[in-house]
């Protein structure tokens, strides 16, 4: 498997990937290099040159892979957040294209409007007909503005709930794909009941009579993520983050100042990586990404996500609804660490 994607250019937005950029440029140059003039194709000299070139490329690729492994095996929490936020990371629309067949989007909350930060619609994942909900950040400036950079308003949560209720009625399982820095902190959002919308979604999702699977594919920013994140099974992509607050928010409050140093400290302290969440029991599974992150090979990331969803939906469909709901409640009920003293 190649760790290089022809359209990918390292270090555009990930500072710690910069050492890779020079290597990647060399590889690209060698690969596209035309045979030297004068050496006719098929001639012995030309052939030797090609062999040399191929060996060189192979060597460079090996050191590239080694460097990539080294960087990604010791990524740290703050760099994980950067990967999760990278503009090159696959978004909901990529996974809808790569994992979901026949996606038919549904719009509007029937109360106020259509929040483009939240997408909902019918679609097939493997053999399963589903209702899919996702938060969308947008690919280019125009789309990002339209989607409010993936930060939903109350009407987004209410659209999601409306569609999930319909899924319940028609016996369709629900899949939510979460990628949001958080619910939007704005005047309109507060006026229209951001807190109420998120609260109601959690309550209703906890008792929705159909299987629910939630996957944090990028950013899992606090209540804004949880408003779509109550489920029978919760998973995270390997380099996603999920936490009660963003590292910057946490640093600003607890360290009194948010700068690269305190952000990194807060990110570590918050235990926000997929591995840490798995350890704390807040999620059930980590979905592996290709070496160097999903942005290097969205297809592999999508295949892994697809496999996880197909298998999990098959498992969940086997439960009687009352057992499913009891397990869903117990799952939530058991999250948390306390001690019960004797007195």
């Amino acid at each position: 498997m190649s760790t290089l994607n022809s359209t990918y250019n390292a270090a555009l937005d990930l500072d710690f990937e910069r050492p890779l950029a020079a290597l990647e440029q060399q590889i690209t140059e060698l690969e596209t290099a035309a045979p030297a003039p004068g050496s006719a194709p098929g001639s012995e000299a030309g052939l030797n040159k090609q062999v040399d070139l191929a060996a060189e490329v192979r060597k460079l690729r090996q050191s590239h892979t080694a460097m990539l492994k080294k960087i990604y095996n010791n990524l740290g929490a703050w760099n994980t957040v950067k990967v999760a936020r990278s503009a090159r990371r696959p978004q909901v629309t990529d996974y809808l294209r790569l994992v979901v067949k026949d996606f038919a989007e549904l719009h509007g909350d029937r109360r106020f409007g259509d929040d483009k930060a939240v997408m909902a619609g019918f679609g097939r994942i493997g053999p399963h007909k589903c209702l899919i909900v996702g938060t969308h950040k947008g690919k280019d400036t125009k789309e990002r503005v339209a989607c409010n950079f993936g930060m939903p308003h109350p009407e987004g949560y209410r659209k999601a709930l409306r569609c999930m209720k319909m899924a319940e009625k028609f016996g369709l399982p629900v899949v939510t794909l979460i990628d949001t820095a958080g619910a939007y902190p704005g005047v309109g959002a507060e006026q229209r009941g951001q807190a109420e919308a998120i609260a109601v979604n959690q309550l209703e999702m906890s008792r929705l009579k159909t299987p629910i699977v939630a996957v944090v594919i990028g950013e899992g920013g606090s209540g804004g993520a949880l408003g779509l994140g109550v489920a029978d099974r919760v998973a995270m992509m390997q380099y996603a983050w999920y936490s009660v607050i963003s590292p910057e928010g946490c640093a600003a409050i607890l360290w009194k100042t948010a700068n690269p140093e305190t952000n990194a400290q807060a990110a570590e302290a918050l235990k926000l990586t997929a591995a840490d969440n798995l350890k704390a029991g807040t999620i059930d599974e980590v979905i592996e990404e290709p070496l160097g992150g999903a942005h290097r090979n969205p297809q592999i990331a999508a295949d892994n996500l697809g496999k996880y969803l197909t298998k999990t939906l098959r498992d969940l469909k086997r439960y009687k609804i009352e057992n499913l709901l009891r397990n869903r409640y117990d799952r939530l009920r058991n999250i948390g660490k306390i001690k019960e003293l004797a007195d």
Partner: protein
């Protein structure tokens, strides 16, 4: 030596007179967040009127001049709200741990010890069985003196147990909410308490139970965005700050003047997100009335 001292003192006075070396602490009014201060007299943080401390206490910690509702701790709230000696605390043995080894400027474990010593409670929620005007209730009161009543695993667990007890015994669940939000020091585990408490309120709802949520100053963040906003009836104290994102965060995001009274109880009433704004002195009778109409 003595001369030295005098000269330092006079420099200080001079500095103050010129305004140099002054900090905001010197000029800021009494800290809004502080509990009612010690002393015979106290100054209202809202209207700055001086009142006899005893008189304010008799007035349920509401300013006699301007009706400003002071923030009060959980013990005081319980004693104001329930029939005398009727409160039976429950699950007092639940104590917080430091599951993530969280260290910011000081370790979470140390912070917990400090807060426990300060308040005499193990965490930020006082709950149990009580009577309000003769009506049996399951009562939970968030304690803003303990880490600003932030919700971690213990708070979430106790709320879930309260909701389950209320469902089992068919008694109303009365919640006096106040919180800075989910507790950062337990990170994802705190976040999950939002879902846990919401699910527990869902079960109470399925059982036909009554949940009365009373929002007091300030109710914010992950607490507003979970059980606090899920009351069958939602009551708020006058002028209480009730929000998801705090006003400062929003001002930073939108970079514009926020509307007058934004995110205060009356604003939420106007926007349709709470049922009633109720003066502290009327809370007992208003809660009792709701219980009676719900037939609990």
């Amino acid at each position: 030596m003595a001369e030295n001292k005098t000269s330092t003192l006079s420099t200080d006075v001079a500095k103050h007179a010129s305004g140099a070396g002054r900090t905001w602490q010197d000029v800021a009014p009494v800290d809004r967040r502080s509990d009612v201060p010690e002393g015979l007299w106290m100054r209202c943080v809202n209207c700055e009127a001086m009142s006899y401390r005893k008189q304010v206490e008799l007035n349920l910690d509401v300013c006699p001049e301007c009706d400003y509702h002071n923030r009060i701790g959980a013990d005081q709230r319980v004693s104001q709200l329930v029939d005398p000696d009727s409160f039976e605390p429950m699950w007092e043995n639940l104590a917080p741990v430091d599951p993530l080894g969280f260290v910011d400027r000081i370790p979470y474990a140390q912070r917990l010890e400090q807060e426990q010593a300060k308040t005499g409670h193990r965490d930020a929620l006082l709950c149990g069985k009580a009577f309000i005007k003769g009506r049996g209730v399951v009562l939970a009161v968030m304690d803003n003196r303990f880490m600003m009543a932030s919700m971690g695993s213990v708070v979430g667990e106790k709320i879930a147990r309260c909701a389950e007890l209320a469902a089992e015994t068919d008694q109303p669940f009365v919640m006096i909410a106040a919180s800075g939000g989910a507790r950062m020091q337990e990170s994802g585990l705190s976040l999950a308490q939002m879902a846990k408490t919401s699910a527990a309120i869902g079960r109470l709802d399925d059982a036909g139970g009554l949940f009365i949520s009373v929002l007091t100053d300030p109710t914010t963040g992950g607490v507003t965005a979970s059980f606090a906003m899920l009351g069958d009836v939602i009551i708020a104290e006058p002028k209480a700050l009730i929000c998801f994102a705090g006003p400062r965060v929003i001002a930073n995001t939108v970079r514009e003047q926020l509307p007058e009274g934004f995110q205060r109880a009356e604003f939420l009433l106007d926007k349709g997100f709470i049922d009633r704004v109720v003066h502290r002195k009327d809370l007992r009778s208003e809660i009792s009335r709701v219980i009676d109409y719900a037939g609990k």
